[in-house]
Structures are given as structure tokens and as C-alpha cells.
Subunit: 130 residues, 2 copies
Amino acid sequence: MTTPARPRRLAHPAREEIRLEPVLHALSDAVRLRIVREMAAAETGLSCSHFVLPVTKSTSTHHFRVLREAGVIRQDYRGTAKLNALRRADLDALFPGLLDTVLTAAEAQAARHGDPARDPAAGLTATASG
Amino acid sequence: MTTPARPRRLAHPAREEIRLEPVLHALSDAVRLRIVREMAAAETGLSCSHFVLPVTKSTSTHHFRVLREAGVIRQDYRGTAKLNALRRADLDALFPGLLDTVLTAAEAQAARHGDPARDPAAGLTATASG
DNA sequence: ATGCTCGTACGATACCCATCGTAGTACGGC
DNA sequence: GCCGTACTACGATGGGTATCGTACGAGCAT
């Protein structure tokens, strides 16, 4: 009983508590934008380990937490894994069109500059290799 | 001739050099978002001193520089003053709809939470008082 | 229970950034 | 030339943050 049985439930801001500035800040990081882009493409809950990011696991946890605390994603435990999903309904209700324009802008920029993360299906996901 | 006659011209990123992440980062600060909102409402060049911000002049200079270096605004000297204007055409060309959705989201949030900067025409501008 | 995998927590570090005060430069008016 | 206004540059500072390594907790399979 070193830990008093944590609720194993993560804290999320309610819809009304989501603020624009933290959302924009969360999206202003390249790694997090990459995560969000792939999550939008998947449209289903993805485990953290699904993403192959150029950072360690510790840093990944940090980025996911920033996204969650800003209200961009929702994280739920599913057994040993953790499912991540975009909070599309909440974001669209609060800031109509914002998520879509940012995603479109990100893909347009990736196409222009030939980012490695241009195609979310290649090189970014683990593609069930493990 | 302590200084070798500076060009008195400020460095701006070219349209193709504008990146999404710095733009989002520039917009993720409350003070800068406030500046951008008023600039969008004015649609004409505004001097720095036009804005009444809750920070000192030094900090204002910093914020304007962040906006300029991100490619969000254009700054040109006009005599002793400096005119600031949104780079609407460039932003719309690169990231269609992004600026508008962010501005709309900012105003929606201001209306919801009753921000003091809700009405850009009241309390935010100097209204030619000086 | 043992071990494996997934993810977290904590500490450390280095960097960025928002803020300020002070001093200084550029331009325009007297 | 001199002064005032507008803005900048520089230095300092405190807080945030992106990063890592290591150690640990939770769940699943055997």
C-alpha cells in the first residue's frame, strides 16, 4: 500500500473550462502537432505506444499530458494501455472550425516542406511491428 | 556615428518562410492575442503606442517582435512611429481560414468569460487621449 | 508468483520566454 | 542645436518547458 489505490482516472478539463490559449500552445509544438495529426487521421482511440516519436517515453508522457490538460485529447485507461482520442466534439463546439483549419494548415505545410511526418501512415506509426 | 546608420528596416520572414508552429505559439499568448484581435478589428496600420497593454513598453516591444518574427504582423517605420498590420494575405494564402477561426474563437471565448478585452474599442485603445 | 509490457513519477538539466528597469537611438518640432 | 516622443537594446530575473534517465506501479499472461 505504498500508494492508496489511485483512482486510475485522469483529470480532464470540462468543456467549459477549455481555454483557447492553452489549446494553441499545445498545438504549437511540433511533436504534439504530429500526435494530433495522426490522431485525427485515425479517428479512433490510439494507445501511446502506437506513436513512434523522436523522443523518449518520459517526454511522450509529458506531451500527452499537455494535450490532455489543455483539453485537446481525452485519455482513458484500457487495461495496461491508454487510449488517446481527440476531443473533437468539445473543440468544435467551443471553437468552430479551429481544429480542422489547424489540421489542414499542418498538412499543407507538411506537403510544402516535405516533412518526414507528411504521410501519417508511413514511418510515424508502429504498424504493428512489435 | 556610434551606429553605422541602421537600415531602419525590420526583418520579416517571407511568405514561404512562415511556419505554422511559431504562428500558433505567437497566438497562444493572451497579450499577443489581444494585440492581434484589435489589429484585425482596425484593418489599418496601428502604431505600437495605440495599444494600451497591461505590460511595460519593453515587454510590448518583445511581443510585437514575436508576432513579427512569426510572420503574423508586418511592422514598418513611419517617421518616429511604427505601423503594425496583420499579414492577412500571407496567412490566408498559407493557412486558409486559420486566422479567422482563431479570431472568432477568441471573441467567442471573450464573450463567454467576459474578458475585459471583450470589446476592443473600449479600454484597450488609447482613443487619442495622449 | 514471475516476468513482461505499458505508462507514470521524480529528479535533474538546460533552454526558452515573459517580464521588468535602464540606457540609448531615430525622427520630428522648436 | 536642443528637447520630446517613439521605440529598441541590453542585462537581469523568475518561471515555464522540453528533454532525459532511472525507478516504480498497473495490468496481463504464463
